[in-house]
Symmetry: C2
Subunit: 338 residues, 2 copies
DNA sequence: ACTACTTATTAAAATATTTTAAAAAGTAAA
DNA sequence: TTTACTTTTTAAAATATTTTAATAAGTAGT
């Protein structure tokens, strides 16, 4: 198309969708492009059905700027997450609103990939507007390929993104569960350039997702965040120290978590440490905070907060899917029904 | 000046100086700008005396591309680093080659800032080509301001960058010593997007510098890398565990370092862990490696290597100074002698 | 030495973007 | 309600960048 800067189109979509910037003057500033250029590309997106224009009432002194926003109906995405005995899913629209969700059981010892493909087939038929997929797995993933999946032997070394993309001919993103969760939390809280760590204690050992300056830390061998093996006591790692805990956390567990908090504070010094709200109480957090203060000056302790893990996980998958949507070239991003 | 894209000028300088890209076709690819645009801005830089053009002999099939390189004589920088009882310095040219160096004693209990200013005054007079300053301190620094400097009470809360910049009217950068060291190592080894951690055991407690995906980790309260307080044993932190070591490392120290290595591998999973070559031997590294393998699978252990700390530190300061040089607007980056 | 091939450079035309100035659409106060 | 002021939007002119085609300068093989 004449006069189309693909890069700028992508940046526009992302600024409108993720940074919630709504007016041309602001878009112009944020993307450092001129008013006419921004307008021209917005017109393109409007013509393409991706964006809506609205006259607004709000003003800050002079003529109020028109508001531009992403059209929820433009596309739909499907997020799926693998569990040991089931596959959960959620369908969402182009602004990330949840439309429906459900779970599909997977037989014990049955491989996940065929079940996943069957489920996607069914959902795509029932819902022809779905145009991109986002998949979460509790395994280490690089560029859509599953590397190391101790809990899912049938996924080991599978190029999940490749398999699904060629099978369904839509954009696909595959991500580790903890990474998706930090991304989801980050998205929901608009803490753009901060560093966050998401902590999951887990039944079969803990895990974490790490975001530094807004960037995921994956590690050289996809091992980043595998905090279970961190040595903490003469004869115990973090994983061993918290293994015998009950639902109500005992002092030993509190101490182990405090030591881990100290370790993070003394290495990455993040702004925020996020706990799974169903694993720790507010009272636990207070205890962790005061115990941590015995190891390190309070000024350096990250903010300790609870969040809803599954929500964050799904938000992360949604966000990754939408990211995919924004990166599509113009006029190639719809599954045409013809 | 007509038709000058300041951003592109900066990118050109950095690509030529730091990435060692020498031909227009390559510059064009790397900066994703067209041949004519790159050529036009290069001509500007040549006219300005920053860059030299050379015809080259090398060819890869067709007409050989002209080679462009930064002119060493274009400018000089001064790097200074504060020690408890002295200030070290180094003068270097625009491609980072060391021209001269030395140290200036500072009296016990005398404040560092006046001594630093006197020294810079003297060096600038002796060497009028110096046009930018780079200062290293063993303290936490943010945006040129010294935050927390337990070893240098006279620096506490001083806006060192502001003071020097207004006093000498040249660009100034101030950085923490460990951060400068990782930057220096990274620069010298061209490992562009990898994650590195520089470990310094130290006489008065250890420290580290952390680089993730080529980005410095500073932390929310400038505490990143303060590994001394990491809990490692029932009753000992890393700092305490290595405090009583001799020049030859004992098994306890080796174990503590191995635990720290494990901790880093299980959180950031970096590619490389760099030790101060004058603090550990190759044999120590082997022991650390095999001890670490008792805590974590070998595949995830970072590469352990020794490097020369002071060289890396100075290279880092040099690099930061040159970075400053590349960021200057055109024709405002020379201390004119008129 | 000639020919075919490869790659770099230059120049001109085609496009795209920014800048500037003018017009439009609002607010707020006299 | 008018006037002064702000801010957005549009349109035109000025600039900047990319694309295209032509030219230059080399290599390698015959």
């Amino acid at each position: 198309m004449a006069g189309t800067n693909t890069d700028l189109v992508i940046q526009l979509r992302q600024a409108i969708l993720f940074q919630r910037i709504r007016t041309i003057p602001e878009l112009s500033r944020v993307l450092s492009a001129s008013f006419p250029t921004v307008k021209k590309h917005l017109d393109l997106l409007i013509a393409h059905g991706e964006i809506d224009e609205q006259v607004s009432e709000l003003s800050n002194g002079g003529r109020p700027a028109k508001q531009y926003q992403y059209r929820a109906e433009y596309a739909q995405g499907l997020a799926l997450y693998l569990e040991l005995d089931a596959i959960g899913f959620q369908i969402f629209d182009a602004v990330g609103t949840n439309l429906s969700f459900g779970t599909e059981p997977v037989e014990k010892n049955q491989p996940h990939v065929p079940a996943l493909i069957r489920l996607i087939h069914r959902l795509l038929e029932q819902n022809p507007h779905i145009s991109f997929l986002s998949v979460g797995v509790a395994a280490s993933v690089e560029n859509g390929q599953v590397f190391f999946a101790p809990d899912y032997p049938s996924l080991q070394q599978v190029d999940l993104k490749g398999v699904l993309a060629s099978q369904f001919d839509v954009p696909v993103v595959v991500e580790n569960d903890m990474n998706a969760a930090v991304i989801g939390f980050h998205e929901g809280h608009q803490r753009s350039q901060q560093s966050l760590i998401y902590l999951y204690l887990g039944k079969n050992g803990p895990g974490s997702g790490i975001l530094i300056n807004g960037q995921l830390v994956r590690g050289s061998s996809h091992f980043a965040g595998e905090i279970s093996v961190v040595p903490q006591y003469d004869k115990k790692t973090f994983g061993q120290a918290i293994a015998r805990r009950q639902t109500a956390l005992d002092p030993q567990t509190i101490d182990a978590i405090s030591r881990l908090t100290t370790t993070f504070a003394a290495t990455l010094n993040p702004h925020l440490l996020i706990f799974n709200g169903s694993e720790v109480t507010e009272h636990d957090l207070e205890q962790i905070r005061s115990k941590t203060a015995e190891y390190i000056p309070e000024a350096h302790i990250p903010l300790l907060i609870r969040s809803h893990w599954e929500t964050d996980y799904l938000n992360g998958l949604t966000r990754l899917g939408l990211q995919l949507l924004t990166e599509q070239p113009l006029s190639a991003n719809r599954r045409t029904s013809s």
